[in-house]
Structures are given as structure tokens and as C-alpha cells.
């Protein structure tokens, strides 16, 4: 299990390859990556991501451990950035590995739902008419009930 909370960009491809290569005896890898979407009209200057140093690392590690407990996984990797990101930059990624595809899919889906609503990150859109904090969606909170 590996958790990285960082300001710096990461290389999705390099991480995907390194993660896959260090697995052995597993048949399935699922990778999710979240990307800064521009606003309609290309008005987004930056997506500012604030977080709670200390709590972030603890809560993300706890979410990863919960996934390892629920499914029979080879490994879990979570990288999440903070700071000011431009449109099309990668915000975060998760990777899970398992013997069978269902476990790899479900655990990655689970990780995303919990990272969305239970890890202390807050997004602020800078630029455009909607400048301001991104509001949490009711459906994201509801998604937790699936698990």
C-alpha cells in the first residue's frame, strides 16, 4: 500500500507501469485518474486544491486499509495532489490490483467514493463566472451508501 499527498505533478503512465510491474500473481489492475476539467468557454484559470495536512494522510491511508480489508487485493496506490492546478492537469490517481477483475473494479470504485467525500480536500475554481468553492454533491454523499 502506498499513499502520496503531494503538490508536484505525477506521471500517470510511469506510475501505472511501476505499479503493474511490482505485482506478481495478479490478473487485474484498475487505474482511475481524475483530471481538472475546464469550465465551458475555457474560463478556468486554475483549480486550487486545499487540504488538511496530517489529517489528509491519515484519512487516505485509512480508506486504503479499508479497501484492503474488504477485498482480496494485491496492492493499492493512491496519489492526490494539492495546490493550484491548470485545466487538463491530473489531480489524482488510484490503482488497485487483484486476482480477478471484479475485485479490482469494486475496490477502485470504493476508493474514489470515499476519497471524494471523506478525505479532507476542497476544490476552488478560479476564473470564470462561477469562481468559488466547488460544492459537494448530494449524489457523492449518497454514493457512500453503496458500500
Amino acid at each position: 500500500m502506498e499513499v502520496r499527498i503531494q503538490r508536484e505533478p505525477f506521471d500517470l503512465g510511469a506510475e501505472a507501469n511501476a505499479f503493474s510491474e511490482r505485482q506478481s500473481g495478479i490478473g487485474a489492475v484498475v487505474i482511475f485518474s481524475g483530471i481538472v476539467r475546464d469550465l465551458p468557454g475555457g474560463e478556468l484559470e486554475a483549480m486550487e486544491i486545499e487540504h488538511y495536512p496530517g489529517m489528509t494522510e491519515r484519512s487516505v491511508a485509512k480508506i486504503a486499509e479499508e479497501a484492503l480489508n474488504r477485498w482480496s487485493l494485491g496492492d493499492v496506490l493512491i496519489i492526490h495532489r494539492y495546490g493550484a492546478l491548470k485545466p487538463d492537469e491530473m489531480i489524482m490517481m488510484v490503482a488497485t490490483s487483484a486476482s480477478h477483475r471484479a475485485e479490482a473494479f469494486q475496490s477502485a470504485d470504493f476508493l474514489m467514493d470515499f476519497l471524494k467525500s471523506r478525505a479532507p480536500f476542497w476544490k476552488k475554481e478560479i476564473g470564470g463566472p462561477r469562481t468559488g468553492w466547488v460544492e459537494a454533491k448530494r449524489e457523492d454523499e449518497d454514493a457512500l451508501d453503496r458500500w
Binding site: E50, Y52, R58, M92, K116, R118, P120, G132, W133, E141
Partner: protein
């Protein structure tokens, strides 16, 4: 104890962290105490449904006791991922 504010809580109150001496027994009592200080606090804490609290870096609820607590943080619902 340390009280931390994030996102629009931090912006409305104008600081990200402060030391607070309090006799409040629960988070809710602390919120009431802070709200009485100044209008910016009252404004920040006005809509409790859109505020979350963490005690010593664990999510908690407003009835949680504060005895022995070192750090309380207030923030809006999280938007990670």
C-alpha cells in the same frame, strides 16, 4: 486547543488557525461560543448543515466531547478525488 478552519470557513473567518481557551464541553458548545465572538464567526457558522468537524484529525459530530482534545477543525463538506 487549536482550532483550524478550511476552505470557505477559513475565508469567512479570515484565519486558518487559532488557539482557543474554552470551557465548552461539546463541539456544539464551542461553535456557539465562537459564533458569539464576532459577526464573521456567526456568518461562518450560520449554516451548520454545511459544516463538518474533525477532532484530532478524525471526523466527528457536533455532540462529541472536547475533553482532552488538542485540535478541532471546521470545514465544508469535502470535495476530493
Amino acid at each position: 486547543m487549536d482550532v483550524l478552519y478550511f476552505a470557505w470557513m477559513r475565508e469567512r473567518i479570515g484565519i486558518s488557525r487559532e488557539k482557543v481557551e474554552t470551557g465548552a464541553v461539546t463541539v456544539r458548545q464551542l461553535v456557539e461560543e465562537l459564533s458569539c465572538r464576532e459577526p464573521r464567526y456567526a456568518a461562518a457558522f450560520a449554516d451548520m448543515d454545511s459544516i463538518r468537524v474533525a477532532i484530532d484529525q478524525e471526523l466527528a459530530d457536533f455532540d462529541a466531547p472536547l475533553a482532552g482534545v488538542r485540535e478541532v477543525a471546521f470545514f465544508p463538506p469535502m470535495t476530493g478525488g
